[in-house]
Amino acid sequence: MRFVASRFQWIVPWYYILPAIIFLLAFTLFPVILTVILAFSNYAGTRNGELDVSSKTAIVNVTDNSLELTNIKELRCDWLLTPSQVNQNEAGTSSLTGCENVLALVYTSGSVDASGESLDGTTLTLVEALEAGTSVNSVEIMIPDFGFAQEIKVVSSVGKLVELERPPAGTPDLESIRISLTGSAIERRIERIEGNTVYLDAALPPDGIYSTIARFNKFQYVGLDQFKIIIGEARKALLPVFAWNMVFGILTVLINTVIGVFIALLLNNPDLRFRNLYRTLLIVPWALPGIITIQVWRGFLNTNFGAVNRFLALLDLPVFDWLGDCTLAKGAVLLVNLWLGLPFMITATLGALSAIPRDLYEATKMDGANPWQSFWGVTAPLLRNALIPITLTGFAFNFNNFNIIYLLTDGGPPASWGTSTARCTDILISWAYNEAFRSQGGYAYGLGAAISIIIFVITIAVSLMNFKVTGALKEEGDR
């Protein structure tokens, strides 16, 4: 290393940066690039490009390039239809089944169902021994945690013992295991479907015994379609969610700053006794992990049994359905965020206040200013300079504050104007999450990725503003 460094001086800095860059490339940049690419596709849970094991259908009869199946519905071609194709089908302008041009695997021999007794590493022990003479190709094991079955190649099998190529991920359900017997699977493309008959693009070898067919999920690049969907539904999702996102970001920063600065100013008085004790007590919400406290707040805001409503009732005030009403849920989010964010605001302001030199106050005192004048003349302008970066950072953080929305209100309650994924308190990032990971048609990841690109653009805009104000990048530019 040193030899290379003495030859090529320019390489030295990269010795220092390389580890960081490798990590950044592998675990940040690569996922980001993949996400951006997927934003231009219709990638989703039912369209992820992989073999759909649940679409396995038994074959009744084979002639040349056509296969007669037991029931075409089992192939689940309708899962592959895009919404526009469904509309066209209903209108009668097209009759696509969804399986056109989809890759499929035709299995040459059957499979048996079995249950496993135990799994030790890669060794699977079955309850009953397999018939003598059968050779096993692969096993399919259901993983309940993942919600899908995993297909694992088999290295060898003797009686009850089956040696797998690799251990299954997660905790497998050994109750029902499907064992594919040896034989190869032939890949073909589905051309069209008529009734229960599937036509393939090429004939199958004539001497095989064909048992089942399974299709691949397909996903394709759809250009700007995802963005068109977002814009097309802008009134129902993008605009209201964006509006509330801005309001949430601005209001929460504003409320936190005003109250935080006020309390910090009170605490900054050096004559105030116990001020360190007060500070320590006020900082408690910051010291507790937010992931825990937010979930506890959910309980406090419970309509019938929560502490907040009990207190209101005690004062003979009306009680509210905090998490069930649109406006109140928004208020609750702001309230809890105030509780969470106040300690940081107080600490940051106290830090900024302590940076103001004492002699400035002495000087104003000499000049005969009263405390009010010295506050507006000295404290306020200096404090403002220190607070601007803090509030901008706070805004950028809260703009994407997924945890509070997801754990407190879970985006809810459903809004009259919204969709099932964009609800009352959903901000952009939780909306994207809902689209990507729990919209009804499975994981509509392409759409979620498209939304995250929009978020990315907004975040960059905010950060550029931040850099411009704080001048964090300016010194570099001048050089």
Binding site: V12, I17, L24, T171, L266, I283, T293, R310, L314
Partner: protein
């Protein structure tokens, strides 16, 4: 002067704390209370509250004013203002701490369900359920959570060592703060701190999932339910957060150093790309990360999660460290390099020891951030034995039957303790780091 003395004695008799508390108790116990099955209402409670509040404010300000008039007549108003400030801050503190107190109280309650009927006796605050009912005090929730955890003897020894060292460090810190000649004591404290960290590390490594079991009626060993594994979940979280913090420090210091001190082609561009890449909403890359980890066969493993977290942590940490290095003088390293130290030597021997507080801050920031991370962990850690605290809590909170409120709060308390200890032990490093970071971008 005579009249003033009289006023003073009257104030002393009527307005001391005890009489105030008696008055307050009298007020809240003797209201006519309308008790439905869910809520307790005091008719016109808000009016009483308002009146009481104003009276208390007036009394506090007035008595301070009178007191000031006696002590230093010219400063009477500022006495009143100071007293009101104290009152105001105490109200804020009460509001801030109420959720925490309530959380503690519920965790020490015998009822697991949130829907328990309210007590029929006691004062209004008790009967309304605003304050916990002391007669329900019980350790049953904690017992339920901890009874399925079986530590070995050596692990108990470790726990005892941890407790003793923690206590010693605390006491020593107090002594050091009070005394002047404390160098030796500080050294002692540092040694003890090392013992503390090594023991904790040993304990975290040594706990394994097989230690969580109970016995059924037939006397067979059965694996613990997910609620009974909270110690395992805390251990998992500590392991992941700690390793992520260490990784972040390792990877970001070298990069931050290069950005701050070395001038090279492409430096500014690399720096900019660092800054902008981290602005992508990280967890939206979940599917990509899931895909990547699946390809690397790292799903449901801590290694995968730690790698993913570290990747997300680097850019920000390197940015902070660069800002910190730019704020300190280069003369020391330059002197060392003139004396024949290599660049790496200067970095390793001079820069790193000098920036320990900043490294600590980066570590803590990453540690606490990771402790509170939820989404990525939720997607990647599927096996119950690998869960982190956040996932375990959410499982309790979204239990399919009803929220197990007692279990949830008790777990929340247990899960908060590590962060609470860390935060308050390093409070200064933490707050100073933030101010240092905020003044220098």
């Amino acid at each position: 002067m005579n009249t003033l003395n009289q006023i003073q004695s009257i104030l002393r008799t009527y307005l001391n704390l005890k009489s105030l508390s008696i008055l307050f108790t009298f007020l809240i116990t003797n209201f006519s209370i309308a008790q439905s099955d869910r809520f307790v209402r005091i008719p016109y409670g808000w009016l009483w509250f308002l009146i009481g509040f104003i009276v208390i404010c007036l009394v506090v300000a007035g008595s301070a004013y009178t007191y000031g008039k006696i002590r230093r007549p010219g400063k009477a108003i500022s006495y009143a203002i100071t007293a009101s400030t104290h009152l105001f801050i105490w109200i804020v503190i009460l509001l801030t701490l109420y959720p925490v107190i309530h959380l503690l109280a519920v965790s020490f309650n015998r009822n697991d369900s949130i829907t328990t009927p309210l007590p029929k006796v006691g004062n209004a605050l008790l009967r309304s359920g605003v304050l916990p009912d002391p007669s329900n005090f019980s350790l049953v929730q904690y017992h339920k959570l901890l009874s399925e955890t079986h530590f070995f003897t050596y692990q108990w020894m470790m726990v005892i060592i941890i407790a003793i060292t923690l206590l010693t460090i605390f006491v020593l810190t107090l002594i050091i703060r009070r005394s002047d000649f404390s160098f030796k004591l500080e050294q002692l404290r540092n040694y003890i701190a090392w013992v503390f960290f090594i023991t904790i590390f040993g304990l975290i490594i040594s706990i394994n999932p097989d230690q969580f079991y109970s016995f059924n009626e037939a006397g067979e060993k059965v694996r613990a339910s997910s609620n009974g594994k909270i110690i395992l979940h805390i251990r998992n979280t500590l392991l992941v957060s700690g390793m992520t913090g260490i990784m972040a420090v390792f990877l970001s210091t070298t990069a931050g150093y290069a950005f701050a001190r070395l001038k090279f082609e492409g430096r500014y561009q690399t720096l900019l790309s660092f800054v902008f890449v981290q602005m992508f909403p990280g967890f939206m890359a979940l599917v990509a990360l899931f895909y990547l980890m699946n390809a690397l066969d790292l799903l449901n493993s801590f290694t995968g999660l730690i790698l993913a977290y570290s990747g997300g942590a680097i850019a920000f940490s390197a940015w902070i460290f660069k800002g910190y290095l730019e704020s300190i003088n280069t003369s020391l390293e330059e002197a060392a390099m003139v004396d024949g130290a290599t660049r790496w030597g200067a970095f390793w021997r001079i820069i790193l020891p000098m920036s320990v507080p900043m490294l600590l801050f980066i570590f803590l920031l990453q540690f606490i951030g990771t402790y509170s991370e939820f989404i990525l962990a939720n997607i990647m850690l599927t096996g119950e034995d690998k869960w982190t605290v956040g996932i375990a809590l959410r499982a309790m909170s979204y239990n399919q039957f009803n929220t197990q409120w007692g279990t949830l709060t008790a777990s929340a308390v247990l899960g908060s303790i590590p962060i609470l200890i860390i935060f308050y032990s390093f409070q200064n490093a933490f707050t100073d780091g933030y101010t240092a970071g905020s003044t220098k971008g």
